[in-house]
Each structure stands twice: as C-alpha cells, then as structure tokens.
C-alpha cells in the first residue's frame, strides 16, 4: 500500500463520519459565501463606465425635497456638462404589488436622457416612438422579462410619493446598463398629472470626461449656493455609496454573522477531527512502534484532515459558485438582488478558511500523539 493509499483508506474508514464532516464544512462554507455575496450586493452597487461620469444633483435638504425646473438653463451652461435631464423618482406600486415594487420608475426628458445613459442600447425606431408619444415608456430588459412584457402592453402604477397614478404603455426596451430594471417615462406626463408644479426630483447629468466629473460637481454646487434651492451634486457612484451608508449597522451585522459562522465551523470540525484521531490512538502507537517518526505521523493526520476540509470547500464554495451562476436570482429574490456574483476573492477566502481548518484541527491530536509514548498509546483502551 502506498502512503497516499494508506491516508485515503484511513480517511474513508469511517465513511459516515467522513461524509458528515465534509458536508458540515461544505454547508458552512456555502453559507459563508452566500452571506459575502449578499453583503457585496447590498453595499457595492454595480459599477459601469458611466457611473463615474454621471452626476446626480439633488436638493441639499434631502432627496425628498424637489428642485425648481428653471435650474435646467443654469446647469446646461456649466462647462464640462455633456448632457442633462430632469430625473424624478416616481416610486409607484406596480399593479398587483401591495407594499413594495422592487424596480424604480423615473420621469425624464426622453430627448435628453439618451445622452446621459450612454451605456443603454435600444432600438432606434422604438426610441423615436417613445419620444413622440408622452404616454409611452421604455422598460429595462430585466423587468420586461420578469413580467413578460411586450411592446404595447400597459403598465399601471399607483403613486405613493406623488398624488397621481400612471397609465403607461411600453414603447420598447433597453439593455446594457449595470441595472436593467428601471422604467423611464415622460416628465411632461408627470407634470400634467400634477398640474404643472414646475419642479423636478433631481437632475441627472453626464460629465464630458471622468477627470472633470469632480470639478463639474463643484461647479454645480457653487452655481446654486445661497439660492432658494441649494443643491448637492455628486457622481452617481458617490450618490449610491451615500445611499448605502444610510443602512447604518447592517454591514457590521452581516460581517459579525460571517465571523460566528466561521468560528462555529472551526469548533465543530476541530472536535470531529480529534475524535477521529483519538479513536485510533492505538494504531498510531503501533505505527510509532514500527518506526514511523513523529513528523510522519503528523503528516498522516494533517493530510487526512486537510483533505477532508478541502473536499468540504470544493463542495460548499464550488456548489455556491455553480448554483448562483445558474440560478435566476432576480426572479427568486423578487428583484431585490441583481447579479449575486461569487467573486474569485470570496472563493479564495473560503478555501483559505478550509485550509486553516484542516491545519488547526490536526494540531491538537498530532500534539497528543507526539507526546504519548508507545507503551502509553498501546495501553489506551478507546
């Protein structure tokens, strides 16, 4: 029997225990990866080329306060601005949703918005049709797929922030942005429904170059300083991160859960491993009597525990990777999660934890084997 064969035979001698150990490591690492992915998805918004170029201008008081529509003329003339559109979050409930609609609806100027969402790809004919009719909207492909929408379908929304409802028809679809879920419709439709209040929610602008984006935000802020409606302009990226920071302690919470999961896993595996070794204390003593050295015995033990925990990692982390790659997470999570991507870094972390587990759980039994004399070992009963 080769050495490798000996180790393998030993590891699989108690098949049930080997299986239970591998599966409990696997399940815990699966959980670890899932939490990490969820945390990343919640705290790091999807990034694309445009998110550092695009600028969101909101009222300095808060997002809930509106801005006067007349600001458009001033913003347009600010140097470094390539395009700008009104950008009002409608926040309606899509028909059938009672409490919460997971995709956003924005009122924009259709003729201007195309130059702001530069990543979006849409059919030229559909776009032209949308501009022409103020009751039409364009829908992100993900949302269209989720609700099985076709061109010409009706989309009705009940207003929650605004005292009006929307009755729109689908002009076409777009895709290619980091988040293809949003519905865009005519700002004039909203203005008319609200009796032309002369306000917009935010402005959405595109800087001419990434280098200039920060300068442009400063210019916009300065342009409205000490006016009746002071603004806060920031890049889309900064805006999203600021939004996420409002969730406060959630990040810490999930982070500490991850730690607890890893710790529990460590504890349990270490205990199982040392159980497996203690069970064959006498055998190890025999091996010692046969002339195997301490470091060789340590090698046996280490190889076994390392192998088992690595197998668990392959099962758990690899399983998570395969599952989340092939799962339609958007449909499952009701649109709350978008990509649910397992990054190489997370896989690396999972395997590092598994390796650590393998090593740590070998230490205690290996030490006691090394310390015990052959005679003592042979004398042990169980």
């Amino acid at each position: 029997m080769t050495l490798g064969g000996f180790i393998l035979k030993n590891a699989l001698r108690n098949k049930r225990r080997a299986l239970l150990s591998v599966v409990s490591v696997g399940v815990s690492l699966f959980l670890f990866i899932t939490l990490q992915v969820a945390l990343r998805e919640l705290t790091l918004p999807p990034e694309d080329l445009g998110s550092s170029l695009r600028i969101i201008v909101r009222n300095k008081v808060s997002l809930m306060s509106s801005l006067p529509a007349r600001q458009l003329q001033v913003i347009e003339k600010i140097p470094g601005i390539a395009a700008v559109t009104p950008f009002t979050f409608f926040g309606g409930l899509y028909k059938g949703d009672e409490k919460f609609t997971s995709f956003a609806q924005f009122a924009v100027d259709p003729a201007r918005v195309k130059d702001v969402i530069v990543d979006a790809k849409m059919d030229a004919a559909e776009y032209a049709a949308w501009i022409a009719d103020r009751t039409l909207c364009i829908v992100g492909l993900d949302t269209a797929r989720r609700y099985n929408l076709k061109r010409g379908d009706r989309m009705q929304f009940t207003g929650t922030f605004y005292p009006c409802d929307l009755d729109l028809r689908v002009a076409g679809f777009y895709h290619g942005t980091a988040d293809d879920r949003t519905v865009f419709f005519h700002h004039r439709y909203l203005d008319e429904a609200l009796d032309n209040p002369g306000t917009v929610g935010c402005w959405w602008a595109l800087a001419a170059s990434a280098e200039e984006a920060v300068l442009v935000t400063a210019r916009i802020n300065a342009a409205f300083a000490n006016s009746s409606a002071e603004v806060r302009a920031e890049t889309e990226r900064a805006f999203q991160l600021g939004f996420i920071s409002m969730w406060a302690n959630i990040k810490v919470l999930i982070g500490s859960i991850c730690t607890v999961v890893v710790f529990t896993l460590l504890l349990v595996t270490v205990s199982t491993m040392s159980m497996a070794i203690r069970e064959r204390f006498r055998e190890l003593a025999v091996l010692k009597a046969l002339g195997f050295r301490r470091r060789e015995l340590l090698g046996f033990i280490l190889a076994e525990s390392f192998g088992l925990s690595m197998l668990g990692a392959v099962l758990g982390a690899g399983g998570a990777w395969l599952l989340y790659r092939n799962l339609d997470i958007q449909k499952l999570a009701n649109g709350v999660f978008l990509a649910f991507e397992v990054t190489p870094r997370m896989l690396g972390m999972a395997f590092a934890i598994a390796a650590l587990l393998g090593i740590l759980s070998a230490i205690a039994p290996a030490l006691s084997v090394a310390r015990t004399s052959v005679v003592e070992g042979l004398r042990t009963l169980d």
């Binding site: 809930m64 306060s65 920071s245 409002m246 406060a248 302690n249 710790f263 529990t264 349990v268 069970e279």
Partner: protein, 416 residues
C-alpha cells in the same frame, strides 16, 4: 410565501415537537436514570463542549436577529394612542409622503364626530413631515432624519412623548427639539447646538423621549415654521381625536366615503402596526440562517453522538442484558442529545441577553429615514430559541440512537 411551503414547515415543526415530547415521556417512564445521561455527557467533555458551544452560537445568531425584528415591531406597536385617528392622502404609504391641504383641514375640523377641548376648539392637528439629510457623528456620512412640524394640539394628542432636557421650541422661532436617542447618532444634536438645513439654521433647544416608540426617531419643531423653512404649502397628515369609539368608526367611514377629500383614515396605532417592511428582510435573513446553520449543526451533533454510541457499545449491551428495551435505549440517547443541545440553547439565550435593550438604528423602508430601535429579547423569543436547540438535538441524535438500539446484544458485549 406559498401556502404549501408554510404548511410543510409547520408540519415539520409539529413532528419535531411531538418527537421531543415522546422522548421525554419515554425517558422518564423507563427506568434508565437521567443521571446516567448526565454523567455520560460530562465524561467526554471535550466533544461535549464543542457541540454545546456550536449549538449555542447557532441559537445566538437566530435569537439576536429575531430580536432586531422584534425591536422594530415593538417600537411601532408602542406608538400612538388607540383613541386617535390618523388621516393621510389616499395612496400614500408613509406619513412623510402624504400631502393634505388647508382646504381639507377646514372641511375636516367641522365634522361633528371630533372632540372639542375646553376652549371649544376641535382636537385636530395638522403636521408637516419633512426629511433632512444630516451628518452623522464621526465618519458615518449623512442620513435622513424625520422632522415633524407639530402644533400644540398635536403635542397634547401624543402624551407619550416627554421632554427630557432643555425646553420645548417656541412657536415662530427656528428652534427644534431632537430625540435623545438620535442625539447619540448625529452631529450637532446637543442642546444649544445649531445646524443648517436648506436656507435655515435651526437651534436645538431640547431633547425628547418617545418611551420606546417610533417618536424616538423624530425631531419636533413648530408646524408653521417648518412650512416656511421647507417652503411647503401643504401639510402632511392630520391627527384627530374623536368624541367616542362609535364616533371614531363613523368618522373613518365618513372620511373614506367623502369623494371631495380623497383621504384615508385609520386608527393611529393601526397605522404604525402596519409598518412592517423594515423588519421583514431581517426576519427573512434570520429564517434563512436558521435553516442553513442548523443543517451544519445537525451534522456536527450527529458526528458527536455517533462517536458517543461507538464508544459506549459495551454499555449499551449491558443495558440490553439488564432487560431494557430497544425503545428505552433510543429514548435515553435521544434524551441525552436533546439535553446537550438545550444546554447549548440556554447558553445561547444567556449570551444574547447581553444585547437586550441595546439601541441600534437602520434606514426605515417606510419613512425613508433613520429609525432607532433596541434589541428586544422576549420570553417567547427565548422559548423559540430553546425549542430550536431541542429540535437540533432531536434530529442530530435520531439516527445514532437508532443505530445504538439496533446493535446486537452479543456483539455489543464482545466489543472492546
């Protein structure tokens, strides 16, 4: 959640509970003394400790997460006076997104169902709710704070809010009273501090305390001053005190049916109890973690118990020779596993108590502002945690126990 799924979970929990009860009954009726189990548990203390701590951590995570959800719900459930009626715009999902007009106020205040105070004025308050994005203490960035512009009548209608430091704001001045709990989280919220929002500079003149209600996440200022600072023509909501419970029912019907008003009325307590969107994802996370972590924990418990059975083959043989039935052997092992797990559960619950009452905050999905709440560990929650632990013990020990019972007596005795 689909009904079939709920049914499945409920029947699974039912079977588990039944199993645990049967185990306890059999174990106590049979003659295998419980002392035997307790002694066996402590003889292999190393694996026992690992299992107990493992289960304790699983229970801890579950109880703590649920206590967050309970905290949010409790803060909402504590809010409001059952006699009050909250009137908001039809379709608005939160007070802050509601808009009501002065014309509606004029119509509403002459409704005869509304109580009148000593001076003969109707007890109705028109509030203005706005959000201000303000800097957190330290490096926390900015977060939205809910500012309530309120009238003297509105303050009388909310007696649970007390002033705990400084003084109330004076009408007509740009003064604000902030929640004491928010003062710990935001910069410039000490009494005497000032902060700028929009074109106005507000001076903090006092701290309020909402007695664990949703008002702990609010700052109060004069309603008309708030309308001028934030350039608001309209109010957000009305709070009304009807003359009697019957008048309340009438009033709600009258408002809902009045086509002119386009308003929605419901009891103030009812409105706050319906604010469950913020707690929902936390409950979902707790459930998800409970399921996945318990799979890992059950396997770990199984491992420990299989080893225990393996090491005690001779003992089991002896028990059988002495005349104990197979079911006694199963029961005694199950009892041991369940007790072990419940020890872990008790430990988890005890550790979780350390966080009981600790205040934390997150973004409320409804009001879109920072909402303060406390980890709240109720007896029900602790009982849930204990049941959870017992279930882990039950399922983790079932297979090893069956294996123990099926060992042939002779081979069991022969084992070294």
């Amino acid at each position: 959640m689909p009904a079939v799924f709920t049914l499945l979970i409920e029947s699974f929990l039912g079977i588990t509970a039944l199993g645990i009860v049967v185990v306890f009954l059999t174990a106590f009726l049979s003659a295998v003394p419980v002392k035997y189990n307790l002694k066996s548990v402590f003889i292999r203390w190393r694996s026992t400790v690992a299992t107990v701590v493992g289960i304790a951590l699983v229970v801890l995570v579950y109880v703590l997460l649920q206590s967050l959800a309970v905290g949010i719900e409790k803060s909402n459930a504590n809010t409001g006076d059952p006699r009050n009626i909250l009137v908001a715009r039809k379709g608005a999902t939160a007070e802050s997104s509601s808009l009501v007009t002065r014309a509606q106020l004029r119509t509403l205040q002459y409704f005869e169902e509304i109580e009148r105070n000593a001076a003969g004025d109707p007890v109705i308050s028109a509030d203005v709710l706005t959000l201000a994005s303000l800097p957190r203490k330290g490096q926390g960035g900015e977060a939205n704070v809910l500012l309530r512009g309120i009238t003297p009548r509105g303050m009388e209608l909310r007696p649970q809010v007390q002033l705990v430091a400084g003084r109330w704001f004076s009408p007509g001045r740009r003064e604000i009273v902030v929640s004491r709990k928010l003062a710990g989280r935001f910069a410039n919220f000490e009494v005497g501090d000032t902060f700028k929002t929009g074109p106005a500079t507000l001076t903090v003149v006092g701290w309020l305390d909402g007695a664990g209600s949703a008002y702990d996440s609010e700052c109060w200022m004069d309603a008309d001053e708030s309308r001028s600072v934030f350039e608001r023509e309209m109010y957000s909501t009305f709070l009304v005190r009807p003359k009697s419970p019957e008048a309340a029912t009438n009033l709600i019907r009258k408002i809902e049916n009045d086509k002119r008003l386009q308003l929605r009325a419901e009891s103030e307590t009812g409105y706050y109890q319906k604010q469950t969107l913020t707690a929902a994802p936390i409950q979902w996370l707790a459930g998800f973690l409970a399921v996945t972590m318990s799979i890992g924990a059950v396997f770990a418990a199984m491992n420990t118990m299989y080893a225990a059975v393996g090491a005690r083959t001779r003992e089991i043989g002896t028990l059988r020779v002495l005349g104990f039935h197979r079911r006694n052997v199963i029961a005694t092992f199950l009892l041991e596993g369940i007790l072990l797990a419940m020890l872990g559960g008790a430990l988890g619950c005890l550790i979780s108590l350390k966080w009981n009452g600790y205040t934390t905050a997150t973004l409320s999905v409804e009001s879109f502002s920072e909402t303060v709440f406390a980890f709240t560990i109720t007896p029900t929650l602790a009982a849930q945690g204990m049941f959870f632990a017992a279930a882990l013990g039950f399922w983790g020990t079932l297979l090893p126990a069956v294996r123990a019972a099926r060992l042939p007596v002779i081979s069991a005795l022969k084992a070294l």
